[in-house]
Symmetry: C2
Subunit: 205 residues, 2 copies
């Protein structure tokens, strides 16, 4: 399903959603293509300016297929704004191994979905009207959830800083692609360098 | 000049540039207010849609003052897109102390300028037409410069990951403000937790 070979994944924003993804979109009956196009639309445009018609055109499907699969624009936004599945994958390791697992999973998720699973919450800092909802989701589904699992002092602060390092990893891989050192490194090598700092925050020692 | 008391700084994006900054703007004869309004405008809107008139209105100055001080819209964008001054401050420490210096300086710069000095390059991943220029500047002025100063193997990769951790620190402080744990922590306490991971990447050991 997923690969961790460290090839440069594209963020949803800034790439043409239609290129080279026909096979994957076909496999998911258009669902992946719709989600990708929706993420891109909600990232690049204010909420009020996003239309199902525009998302459908970008995804290469009919507007009625989006309605059938996701319902309203608000429902689609709620799907796109959800960090729960990414958090499930990222946090699925015992605490003593979590640092390395976070790096490997982040790279695998970026490869698998052709974009970063968390980074859109940072883009949202630049878009006034989506800011509050996306931020609240992120805090609830990522930071607060992680904080509850961390033992020791400063759990809330450490969770925020771990979230920061995850966002920073995605940001730097996206910013330096396609020819940056991170884009060319294997996931294992990235973990060798990046996981110890994460693990230290997990351990709180 | 600057404080490191860790009070929650606002990002340029997402705050009303005119509020509570009259004193600072006055002290800089409007320059700071113009730069802040310009950063916000170039973050929130595609380049083609940004106008000096709009920036002037947001900064509370006349369009002619912007022309007088910065010249054209392109010249203003080039000023706003510059990461050189931030890099000068961030990298002004011997390598053995650089990790802690990076955290303290990041917090100080965010306080001093009412926004994050680097994070707009991440916002730019969501804005198609500014992407290339801002990213190129960031790589040249931050990542490549840092890589040249790092001894040992994987200098380019370690520089990318250090840049990622810096971007992630700013991102998480902005995302969890105003009531997050990071917003309430002192800069020294943030450095206690966050600097070791950075220092490990600096040392390459």
């Amino acid at each position: 399903m997923s690969t961790t070979d460290g090839t440069a994944p594209a963020t949803g924003a800034g790439t043409t959603a239609a290129s080279g993804e026909a096979g994957e979109a076909g496999a998911g009956s258009g669902r992946d293509a719709i989600v990708r196009a929706a993420r891109r639309a909600f990232t690049l445009q204010p909420y009020a300016e996003v239309t199902l018609r525009g998302i459908a055109a970008a995804a290469g499907v009919s507007p009625s297929l989006i309605v059938k699969r996701f319902g309203t624009k608000e429902a689609l936004f709620n799907t796109v704004a959800d960090f729960g599945a990414a958090a499930d994958a990222l946090f699925a390791a015992p605490l003593p191994q979590l640092g390395r697992h976070l790096v490997l999973t982040m790279v695998a998720l970026r490869d698998r979905f052709g974009g970063d699973p968390l980074l859109r919450v940072v883009f949202s800092l630049g878009i006034e009207d989506e800011r509050t909802l996306l931020r609240a989701r992120f805090r609830e589904q990522v930071t607060d959830r992680l904080a509850r699992s961390l033992p020791g002092p400063d759990a809330a602060l450490r969770a925020e800083l771990i979230a920061g390092q995850l966002l920073g990893l995605g940001a730097t891989l996206s910013l330096h692609r396609p020819d940056g050192a991170g884009a060319q490194a294997s996931a294992e090598h990235l973990a060798d360098l990046y996981a110890p700092g994460l693990q230290r925050l997990v351990d709180g020692a």
